[in-house]
């Protein structure tokens, strides 16, 4: 058990909501969340459909450990075809929404079709209804949550919503839950917007059952005691990373023109925790997702005298602050060292529903276009879109959030934006998805991970960190990337968060929890094979969607322009040497297609 063994199917075209049994054969093969959601998507949908068409489906998926007592057991995912990448998208979020959905009795919600009018989905255990959303359509995520919270007078109701960015089909619109947690990447919010679905409101009191509760609780406690290295994450969150990447020369700066940012000391954990000249401190406290004993979230306040919020009291309250990725993307990538401006742009991402990594990456690409004269103030509506300008960052973020003027171009994502203005090489993306905060020249393994990731550039799908920090030699990187991709595919399907892995947990701890909660025996071989099966299934989806080996690549800058400083000084990413080895380890042919015996071994043929 630990699965609810139930799916909620919502057809927005017909307005029908049905409860169906979960396919338990698939649950045993794909575990849950990312794996199981991807399996349903591939089985039910032609991967070649347009991501924003009525044929695309949106799968909201929990894992077997979501909503249980396991630490970090609040994770949930959105699986769909991504409008940013035209590849499979799977965006993972925390907060409390996923656990509430599981407690309402569902493993998955499959949303299909398109509603004629704006609606929201209201779930209270088995009571499910589609409701008129005209009162919240056009409103921000925060306003929507506030209005519906008031309407239902239930403080325990949880919401996952799109903001105006999703309604306006911004290619990297996200789905925001619990005000500042998000299924952030690949544009899953635009798919929701294309279906005229504004919000999923959920309240669940059914609970989650384990096969052997006593044994499970013992496992939970034992594993918790092994999470012995979490202090840094609680205190500094993921932002701790910024000094590390900056020191080694792997902090993408000004659209990856540089790999070290001179303004890092104004964005790092010390800056966040030290009062500024007005006595204002950015960080208020940390925050945690459902059942999490780490609490890496940043709850921050913008200095009320800062130009971005001076006359806007609604932004003077504490809200979700900068994580490493948003500090990189809205800071270093744009050359901006103003922590309040970056925090404000991050607030806008939560409020209007945009992925901060892709927003920052797209603004950085536009700043480079501006720098080389490919766009001018004529295009930007008078904005001097210069690297380092906090004012430009703030203004263009507002325009993108509201789909105004040149903001509409930024909302296309860096790939489409740079194509439009004739410089596609300036998009620092893979499969159309903007880089995370690592550079593939100093971190060769990360370069390979970016290039091969099924959802485009991303830092959460492989774990080459330790190896990359230790050496820029490429020997062994293909195996590290391949094996960690498989392991992470499993963890992403469990309902647990990846971050305990940096706080003392090993893979065995995750395995013990899954084995304790689920029926059957889960051992290390089964874990790895399940992860590999999921990775290959995603690959199959992408091949059927029309992607190929040509999409497993990196921007020219990373392949041809050597890094100027740091441990990668003088190096480019040696992707061409690592990729064939990676394909071979995966059991794929030279074109990156899984061979027949690989598919047979994984039960995918």
């Amino acid at each position: 058990m630990s699965w609810q063994q139930k799916i909620l199917r919502v057809n927005l075209t017909t307005g029908c909501c049905n409860i169906e049994p979960l396919n338990m054969t698939w649950a045993n093969e794909y575990l849950g969340q990312r794996g199981l959601g991807s399996k349903y998507l591939l089985e039910e949908m032609d991967p070649a459909v347009d991501a924003l068409s009525v044929e695309n489906k949106l799968v909201i998926a929990t894992g077997p450990l979501t909503g249980t007592m396991a630490s970090t057991g609040g994770r949930w995912s959105v699986i769909t075809k991504g409008p940013l990448t035209d590849a499979i998208a799977c965006s993972n979020s925390g907060g409390k929404f996923g656990a509430e959905l599981k407690l309402a009795g569902y493993d998955l919600v499959i949303i299909e079709g398109k509603s004629e009018k704006a609606v929201y989905l209201h779930i209270e255990n088995e009571k499910v209804e589609l409701c008129d959303a005209s009162e919240v359509w056009g409103k921000t995520v925060w306003e929507t949550e506030g209005l519906l919270q008031k309407k239902y007078s239930d403080p325990l109701m949880r919401f996952a919503s799109i903001g105006q960015a999703g309604e306006n089909l911004c290619r990297y619109a996200c789905i925001v839950n619990d005000l500042h947690r998000a299924a952030g990447r690949s544009g899953v919010g635009a798919v929701m917007g294309s279906k005229n679905l504004k919000t999923i409101a959920v309240r669940g009191t059914v609970g989650v059952k384990n096969a052997n509760p006593e044994h499970f609780m013992k496992t939970v406690n034992a594993v918790n005691n092994r999470m012995n290295d979490r202090e840094g994450m609680s205190r500094d969150g993921t932002l701790d990373m910024i000094d590390v990447t900056n020191s080694i020369g792997s902090l993408p700066t000004r659209n990856n023109r540089q790999v070290r940012f001179e303004g890092t000391e104004k964005l790092n954990p010390s800056a966040m925790q030290t009062p500024n000249e007005n006595g204002h401190t950015n960080l208020i406290t940390n925050g945690a997702c459902f059942g999490c004993t780490i609490g890496c979230g940043r709850i921050c306040k913008i200095d009320p005298t800062h130009f971005s919020v001076k006359d806007k009291p609604q932004y003077h309250k504490a809200s979700g602050g900068l994580e490493y990725e948003s500090a990189y993307a809205l800071g270093a990538a744009c050359g901006v060292d103003d922590i309040d401006a970056a925090t404000y742009a991050g607030f806008l991402c939560n409020e209007y529903g945009m992925d901060p990594i892709s927003l920052g990456g797209s603004i950085a690409a536009a700043m480079e276009l501006f720098d080389i004269g490919a766009i001018t103030e004529k295009h930007t509506g008078g904005i001097k879109l210069e690297f380092g300008s906090a004012q430009a960052l703030v203004t263009i973020s507002e325009m993108t959030a509201r789909s105004e003027g040149f903001g509409q171009d930024i909302a296309m994502g860096s790939k489409r934006l740079t194509q439009k203005y004739g410089h596609p090489d300036l998009s620092m993306s893979v499969k159309g998805q903007e880089f995370a905060g690592y550079d593939g020249r100093s971190m060769q393994g990360m370069g390979l991970a970016y290039a091969t990731n099924n959802r485009g550039a991303c830092h959460m799908r492989a774990d080459p960190y330790e190896s990359d920090f230790n050496t820029t030699e490429i020997e062994g990187k293909a195996a590290i990337v391949k094996n960690s991709q498989d392991e992470i595919s499993f963890i992403d399907s469990s309902g647990l968060c990846l971050f305990p892995g940096g706080c003392g947990w090993t893979l065995s701890d995750y395995l013990e929890l899954v084995d304790g909660a689920c029926e059957g025996t889960w051992d290390m071989d089964r874990l790895k094979q399940t992860g590999e099966r999921i990775w290959n299934l995603e690959r199959q989806f992408n091949l059927l969607a029309g992607l190929s080996k040509a999409d497993d690549t990196l921007p020219k800058r990373i392949l041809e322009e050597p890094a100027e400083v740091g441990i990668g000084k003088g190096l480019v990413c040696r992707l061409g040497e690592m990729l064939p080895e990676y394909y071979e380890l995966r059991g794929w042919d030279e074109e990156g297609r899984p061979k027949a015996d690989t598919l047979a071994r994984l039960g995918l043929n």
């Binding site: 840094g232 080694i248 990725e325 905060g437 830092h459 960190y465 330790e466 940096g502």
Partner: protein
């Protein structure tokens, strides 16, 4: 003589100034090696860490062979994951 050493990542929390700074001033004698200098920091013995000396990564077994001089830039990091 004195030298500034930067300590980042999780290791910062082992340092006396705690959460607010990453720069630490240490005394050293001419001819001292990186290993001798790092021994003056209250870092945990069992944690693998990364040392950068004037932008070069120094393997841990080379620390005792690397002399330091004034104005060197020395950074000590704990390898961290993800984020």
């Amino acid at each position: 003589m004195q030298i500034t050493i930067k300590v980042f990542g999780k290791l910062r929390h082992y340092m006396p100034a705690g959460r607010s700074a990453g720069n630490y001033l240490l005394n050293f004698k001419l001819g001292e090696t990186l290993e001798q200098l790092l021994k003056k920091l209250p870092l945990p013995k069992d944690r693998p860490y990364l040392v950068l000396h004037n932008d070069n990564k120094i393997d841990l077994d080379q620390l005792s062979l690397t002399p330091i001089s004034e104005n060197d830039e020395i950074i000590v990091l704990a390898p961290v994951k993800g984020g």
